[in-house]
Symmetry: C2
Subunit: 307 residues, 2 copies
């Protein structure tokens, strides 16, 4: 995972990854005896030991820009990771993407059962908002409420959940021979994955009491990083399949999904991801200077990672 990360970024990813893991462990309900035991375990299974923690690192590194204590930024990072984990649990359900594996482990409805997966996702969403509306996250309730509103906007019907609905509708369109255009896929991803990524980066500015100019730069940086991340995902899918299965088109394209690579072509997609990353980096460098190095390197990492 960290092969393509610079030493400084690799250290930050390692450190924040471990710290957000500890924060999640503290903030999730313990596995209690009695009837909630399976739910408690499923919520932990879904959110602990998970992924690259890209969103957590965005929240913590953006908070670091404003000198926010880690005790605060890690709570926000954990809340965002709970929200992200809930979306994956529900996305993997049989009625949604019907995935049996996630990061090499059985998905929650496979490891537990479908009803528990629905409830665990529901409970993780609730726990995210409970975590934000707490004086330990920030003593000023204006900041707490701003974080709640920001996360709700990013993840609701006009954010992540809306993007998932558009993705479902796109499958019908593709089946009807009317696949999405580049702009339509970019809009879909801006909601489905982009909105939470933008909130993650902006969260540091909210916690730090920064003004709109700082917030706007972080949002725009994260919008570019988020789109570059998705294009890189398509490239990995394409190249992974080409190397492993010996065919030119990967599983998303094979599944009839419109992809950035399919729409733009291989080299233009690579060029687009590179251009987005360069823009994200220079935007941060010119506004925040060298103290934004971790975030700049993170933008580089999302298009050079190999998984």
């Amino acid at each position: 995972m960290s092969e393509q990360a610079s030493p400084a970024l690799a250290a930050a990813m390692q450190e924040v990854g471990a710290a957000v893991e500890a924060a999640l462990d503290r903030l999730l309900p313990p596995v209690a005896e009695g009837g909630t035991a399976k739910l408690d375990a499923a919520m932990r299974y879904a959110s602990l030991n998970g992924g690259k923690r890209l969103r957590a690192l965005l929240a913590v590194a953006s908070s670091d820009l404003f000198g926010v204590p880690r005790a605060r930024s890690l709570r926000v990072a954990a809340a965002i990771e709970m929200l992200h984990a809930y979306s994956l649990v529900h996305d993997d359900l049989p009625c949604m993407d019907d995935d049996d594996l996630r990061r090499g482990k059985p998905t929650v409805h496979k490891a537990f059962d479908e009803a528990t997966a629905v409830l665990a996702g529901d409970g993780l969403q609730t726990q995210a908002f409970l975590t934000l509306a707490d004086a330990a996250t920030h003593p000023d309730a204006v900041v707490q409420a701003g974080l709640v509103a920001g996360l709700a906007q990013a993840s609701g019907a006009r954010g992540m959940v809306g993007g998932q609905a558009i993705d479902l509708a796109a499958e019908d369109r593709t089946a009807a021979g009317q696949p999405l255009s580049y702009d339509e896929i970019a809009d879909l991803q801006a909601l489905k994955t982009g909105a939470l990524i933008r909130f993650s980066a902006e969260a540091g500015a909210i916690l730090g009491g920064a003004g709109e100019p700082d917030r706007a730069v972080l949002r725009e940086y994260a919008a570019e990083l988020g789109l570059a991340f998705q294009i890189a995902d398509d490239l990995l899918d394409h190249e992974g399949s080409a190397a492993e299965v010996g065919k030119a088109v990967g599983k998303d394209a094979a599944a009839g999904k419109a992809t950035f690579v399919g729409l733009l072509g291989l080299e233009p997609a690579r060029a687009k991801a590179r251009a987005l990353t360069n823009s994200a980096k220079s935007r941060l460098a010119s506004h925040f200077g060298p103290r934004s190095m971790v975030l700049q390197e993170l933008a580089e990492f999302v298009i050079t990672r190999r998984s």
Copy 2:
């Protein structure tokens, strides 16, 4: 529905029901053109034209005790009804209770599809928190954050979702010949339905800036009302079946579920519901006096209703 309500309560139910309907219509995302159309429509289908609005009336009537403007209390009532509607949509899913009908209409996964039902429930939960963390709900962010935290506590893994998990586990126990005891069912219901009912009544005190003594009285009143409501549900199930199907035991008992009626017997269950209602009413009367009449009558209504 209002046959058993006094004229004053019937008028309040009518008025608040219409007002919360209008608030929901304003606060839910409109049905937009494009890929979110089905999600938007499903969120509205799930929450508009719904039920007795017991929770909304608790929130509004408790707010009225403290002179809270209706423009505020109706937003909180709408947020609670969104949360309640999400729980019903997910409860009805094939992997949960697998219900095809809700209040005589097809359930959301029947009227739309299962994936849309999962997303609509998810989006309704998010929209509830978005509604609370807003200056239009209360200008003081301390109140906004207090409402968010209160709703999250009531509905999460140690509230409603936890109660649903205990209910799932209870089915396994019943199948294994170890049905729940009266105390265990009362504890289950105190989480599964009671926590949100308690929060609904306490919400008025939070909005009104009332102190802990007022809050505690409203919580205790609502705890008694909530348990009486569930016992009355069992009685309706029992008596409805007895009258209609000509057998002594209703559908819950037939489905192997432990019920209050099954555990206590018919007359003791009736006496228990009556005692809870009397206690809830006298608790309010002695603390708040006659201005709590609507809430007192509501406690009477939940055990005398016929549906």
